[in-house]
Symmetry: C2
Subunit: 391 residues, 2 copies
């Protein structure tokens, strides 16, 4: 079984998975800071209900085009047209969420033994995908401005090799919530060009900015450079259960992406594509995003206030300008050991080591502020405090 | 790009894909014998419409458990309980259609250079998945009783190696419509045990039997042998656009399947899982399947009659007891060369070479009888006749 385990990226990511499973067996009273989901009250089910009879006609249950339903592709191109991520049909492939974008990248580009750079901490389901294609991972530290690009350069130099790919979540990173500075983005592109490395620009959150100034995406800064493979998703801005995302990549890759996706899942589920297309065509997205930004801003501030109330001087946490997550350091506390006590108190989070293939960040944890109401956020943090005190 | 092309299974399968694309650009008057979809009138949208408001609550748009939504898992276990494919929760993983079951198999088991046996002809999107993991394919001929297992044995002997896996669609095969005999199934299991090869038992159609006697699945004949990896789907019995299927495999693989799937698409789309769960819970499936069997039996007979009317003595075709497809041989005709003329006449099919990685079956074509009304089937075959006469 150990060879099989290696093929599935070892057990990396399984901490996230088992925490989720644990949660599903818990009472409804557990306050769920663990899973990175949008608030349930943010899911536009009312609009979906209204649209469904018109959208879910028999043809919506047939196979879709592998590159995506034309209706969704058109609505998405319109959505992006007004943004720096405006793009072209030949660059666009609809995927089963952002995760499949990462899997497609691995299928096309990663060979056994290839060096793949990741942020530390990172989204380990993404790095597990690279592992599943036989990548060797190189963790590069991050700070409040994202991946420390100077350290990237020296870490790569020490290997004596060049990376096949550099995997980054530049904006409101998962798990840290931090955003890579413009200067570092530009330097990262420069290094990638020198090394002829691909950049996987995984950006699920940037439309959920609720503070600070927008920073251009790596995709837009690189201006069509084939080295940038951009992975996007509707999971965080509309709903994760629909499993609809997209890849924006060099037009020369489109037929290969179609071939690869055809051998993965044939096509992305069509009812989900049609619901999103209808939502976009109906012009609901702007108000929807504006509401989410206000909602998540309030929740972040509420969580930070609660952390100040309960952990002042004993913990440090990030201050994201958008997205879903706070990254909390509790010096001297083993957050994996703490987890059962926290669950017993009725609060769940993801322990820090789940975000590092080498199990770093033993004193850290990720809190999702997006999916819990402000009223419950304060109570959740109080429970975390009790777990630390009595755990 | 050629290395990338190799990683995506070359252009194998692209004939299927481009035919589909071609079709999508054609007028609505083209009679579509090409795509293997259920009839649009077979999609239970009325029931879905009734169920949707109750099923598509906000939690149905959140992430699902990677192994599948508990509600669907339970309903599916109930559905299978009365059949020879009755199974156990530890053996069951919900997938994004049958295709993802094949991809999961490849991720877990296929290493570069592994020998994978396929039927000839076969479903080349399945063999392309094996290629995408670096498999070397060995095509074994089939006849009216499925894969010729004696030829399997001698073909494998000639390689001087043993196969890592044997990929079969034993019942109402795609594209031939034929069914592997009980005797051959048992002999196949015996050979696989001798070689310690896995069998991929891909069976999307067996619940759509409209004639003849049921033959036990390879899965049930092997009685829990870990060498059998069973791939199943709701695509043909309910709707392909939902992208929901399942894998039935050794319990020791379940955690690895979860890890692998997590790094592919996180989970299967949840609204689709809930719609199917509601459909099964509501007890609609038995009547639904009975109606489909009657429908497809009539359509098969209609298509065979039309072929007799137009091609008697000049063509041969299979006589399936279920499923979707007739496999037609037109001696002396190059069916790829014929395709543009057929499309110009207003009828589409898949040329035979699309079902062989080595491009065999140049005089064959696959006709799907399931998705076209009887009235139009006769006209479609008449158009095919005109294409042959004037093409």
């Amino acid at each position: 079984m150990s060879l099989l385990a290696q093929r599935t990226g070892g057990l990396v990511g399984s901490v996230i998975d088992s925490s989720t499973s644990v949660l599903q067996q818990q009472s409804h009273d557990v306050i769920r800071f663990a899973v990175g989901s949008p608030a349930h009250e943010a899911i536009p089910t009312g609009i979906f209900d209204d649209l469904a009879p018109k959208l879910l006609t028999p043809d919506a249950f047939d196979y879709a085009a592998t590159e995506g339903d034309p209706r969704l592709r058109e609505a998405l191109l319109d959505l992006l047209a007004g943004t720096p991520d405006a793009t072209d049909p030949k660059r666009l492939t609809i995927t089963a969420g952002g995760m499949q974008g990462l899997d497609l990248f691995g299928k096309l580009f990663i060979d056994r033994g290839d060096l793949v750079v990741i942020e530390s901490p990172t989204y380990t389901n993404g790095s597990a995908t690279a592992l599943s294609y036989g990548a060797e991972l190189l963790e590069v530290p991050t700070d409040g401005d994202g991946m420390i690009v100077d350290e990237l350069e020296s870490a790569v130099d020490r290997t004596g090799r060049v990376p096949k790919a550099i995997y980054v979540i530049p904006t409101f990173q998962n798990p840290s919530g931090t955003t890579m500075s413009l200067e570092r983005r530009l330097r990262l592109i420069e290094l990638a060009r020198n090394w002829n490395s691909m950049i996987i620009d995984d950006d699920p959150y940037s439309l959920l900015r609720f503070a600070g100034q927008e920073i251009p995406s790596i995709r837009s800064l690189a201006d069509g450079d084939p080295l940038v493979f951009a992975v996007r998703t509707f999971s965080k801005i509309i709903a994760p259960g629909l499993r609809v995302g997209w890849v924006d990549a060099d037009p020369g890759l489109q037929q290969l992406l179609i071939n690869a996706k055809q051998a993965m899942d044939t096509c992305t589920n069509l009812p989900g594509q049609r619901l999103i297309a209808g939502f976009l065509e109906g012009g609901f997205i702007d108000d929807h995003l504006e509401r989410q930004r206000r909602r998540y801003r309030e929740r972040k501030l509420t969580m930070q206030r609660a952390l100040s109330d309960h952990f002042a001087g004993q913990a440090a946490w990030t201050d994201p300008d958008g997205g879903f997550f706070l990254w909390v350091r509790l010096p001297g506390i083993d957050t994996q050991a703490l987890f059962p006590a926290a669950l017993a108190e009725g609060v769940a989070y993801i322990p820090g080591p789940a975000f590092s293939p080498t199990g770093q960040f033993t004193d850290a944890l990720r809190l999702c502020f997006a999916s819990t109401t402000p009223e419950r956020i304060g109570e959740g943090v109080a429970r975390l405090r009790r777990a630390v005190d009595h755990g």
